[in-house]
Symmetry: C2
Subunit: 460 residues, 2 copies
Amino acid sequence: MAKDPYKIYLSEDEIPKQWYNVRADMKTDHRPILHPGTLKPVTVDDMSPIFCTKLAEQELNATDRFIDIPEPVRERYRMYRPSPLMRAYYLEKALDTPAKIYYKYEGGNTSGSHKLNSSIAQAYYAKEQGLKGVTTETGAGQWGTALSMACQYFGLDCKVFMVKCSYEQKPYRKEVIHTYDADIIPSPSDTTEVGRKILERFPGSTGSLGTAISEAVEYATTHDGYRYVLGSVLNQVLIHQSIIGIEAKAAMEKVDAYPDIVIGCAGGGSNLGGIMAPFMGDKLNGKANPYFIAVEPASCPSLTRGKFAYDFCDTGMVTPLAKMYTLGCGFIPSANHAGGLRYHGMSPILSQLYHDGFLDEARAVEQTAVFEAAELFAKVEGILPAPESSHAIRVAIDEAIRCRESGEAKTILFNLTGTGYFDLAAYKAYNEKTMSDYIPTDEDLARGFATIPKLPGIQE
Amino acid sequence: MAKDPYKIYLSEDEIPKQWYNVRADMKTDHRPILHPGTLKPVTVDDMSPIFCTKLAEQELNATDRFIDIPEPVRERYRMYRPSPLMRAYYLEKALDTPAKIYYKYEGGNTSGSHKLNSSIAQAYYAKEQGLKGVTTETGAGQWGTALSMACQYFGLDCKVFMVKCSYEQKPYRKEVIHTYDADIIPSPSDTTEVGRKILERFPGSTGSLGTAISEAVEYATTHDGYRYVLGSVLNQVLIHQSIIGIEAKAAMEKVDAYPDIVIGCAGGGSNLGGIMAPFMGDKLNGKANPYFIAVEPASCPSLTRGKFAYDFCDTGMVTPLAKMYTLGCGFIPSANHAGGLRYHGMSPILSQLYHDGFLDEARAVEQTAVFEAAELFAKVEGILPAPESSHAIRVAIDEAIRCRESGEAKTILFNLTGTGYFDLAAYKAYNEKTMSDYIPTDEDLARGFATIPKLPGIQE
């Protein structure tokens, strides 16, 4: 039998022509997104002042299984896609495992992550609508970089609210974003009403994704010709990111492989949602039964320790309400945690699939164990991974070790969505043993849960 | 006619099985490398205390046109090669040029550059010889990273002397190198005799490649089981880097293209030497007549303003002497210059080819013009380039603009060997307009030339 290549490429002509909307195949749809004022399901008209109209339609449309990728978006995808599916021969060897380990490598573009897949789509739709610009938030900086690139491609203004602790930890992220001519504002900031309020109450706040979202939304809704865009959590993002899984599945078919286990890290859900999409479709349609694992940081454990409840998507409580696994919109993750994945909630689609048992397992991992996996991976596979993606590496390694112990030759697929070139302060802390783990206490969680809105008659 | 893909890939099976040694086809061989003590041509025996024996053989062997790539080296190449040949459609469009612009993209691996092509080969030969470890110098940090990765792959100790100003400007480069378990020492250091002497004479020295080479050579020759390795300048490095050009030529054949102009930046010569190799072979053998341009920084202009003379390869005057274009082994480039390419000399092969007119032109460019080109390229092509590679981008853009003016649809090929993720302090300086140009005065050059050894009867 011929050995797989290390890198399994599709041709540019094989870039998918359609995204896949897993929601169309879900047995139970997620509960509707609610308008924060009326507490009624939001409509496209409700969302249009915040989001591009076309993206609002994608957000609310539960029924179209396949959605055409506009040709100008595919044209931009051709600059860096299809991304390779890698066979991790050296990792398998280092672990002495009979498992076959594959990873989809999305970090080869200058944004350093998979986020470009959605930012290109969102910037395209914003431009089509004749908008002047878009606003967003960014945590680790990957989404902000990806959006600044996409806005540059389509000629849009771009304002990025960056979580303050990341802004300070990652000075060079700012420079990449500046190179693409976007504005970057540390959040909480005094640019917005909600930012000023948070700064007044918590003058030393290091920020959170939830706060940055509130600021970006406020800016977009108070400035003509601007809309807000988001790089994770939303259904539209999972639709765009489905390209990862579709390509991965097509590449695996070329080497006659199919995953027994699919692993993705989970912050807001774009990562796992992307890689799992077509495989989850197979599972929902009874065609196959892969085992799905969501990996989250122990410091921000929305699936493993959160509540399945309606909550705001932001800290400032200005966004619509989604039924999701949440730590409470007021939960502020520890600044000790080095990577992204600091979001209080979880994609409504992933939340529902987890609640219904199709997303089989969520696992919380501690950051020193994650960096241990990252360094092993860097050494044997020659790619320095992002801390976020390294959560998936940690569990892929654990599963491969389990295969060594059981003798099972399982096929493991994980999503390596980013590179760690901008996370070297965290690698330094790990190498110098100044990195520590942080697990929220029950009291920490209770404080977060107290910020989940009561909503009598709606909240169960 | 079908449009070229954006990314022209070869398959892993098409990774070349042999490197190409352009020296075998040169009309005039470069003058022999001289032993610094005897001033006689060095032999493999002379070199063996410094270099791995196999690499010394490659260095001195002028006649083998093709050299087999050992299978374990090809196996490691498969992790990240073949690298893509890119068609710069968006750059062509931005410049409104009839020229077709292609670039070979070598920055997609974690070392961030083409240097891995040679470090893997050198580490392999060192391991084969049963050595314990290797020493080297690094300027911008790309070679040091590449060598640390390769040493990790083959289980060798690795000591990297890093030019002090780069060490301080690029703190995160160190962390990548640490991740691969190499030691990294800012140069000049007090680890070596030569380092201590330089520090005594110039206490505030920010270092140079020449000094770092002296230190690395001294360490290797005074420690059992160590040898010195070098990432540029040497014939062996040009042999290993020929894989860039061989792949580029094969990829161009797939789209029925052949370059009219081949452009590479030139510090020590690994970059241009790599991309040009098979095309220069065609020129030397009368099969084609591409126009070759070496691009160097105006701040360190060895080809455009240097002397073609025998000189030491290092500042400490401990290495053999090579006949090359040189600014003098005592020339210390301005710390103002942001990237690599700070070497006082130039590959003897490239020097001879330039002297004989086969390397058609050398062009010196100023760094603000280089960063202007880098930012345009990042914006339209979506890849943030290394400052070194951006020298080639600058000239590719200038040539494409010339084509717009003349209406000629020339085919331009350049080598994009690195990414700029570790050069964002320089991008920041450019964006904030605190970056300035520096051109050595005639007096600066005279001071450097005064350090070229006299060598009566040898030096013409």
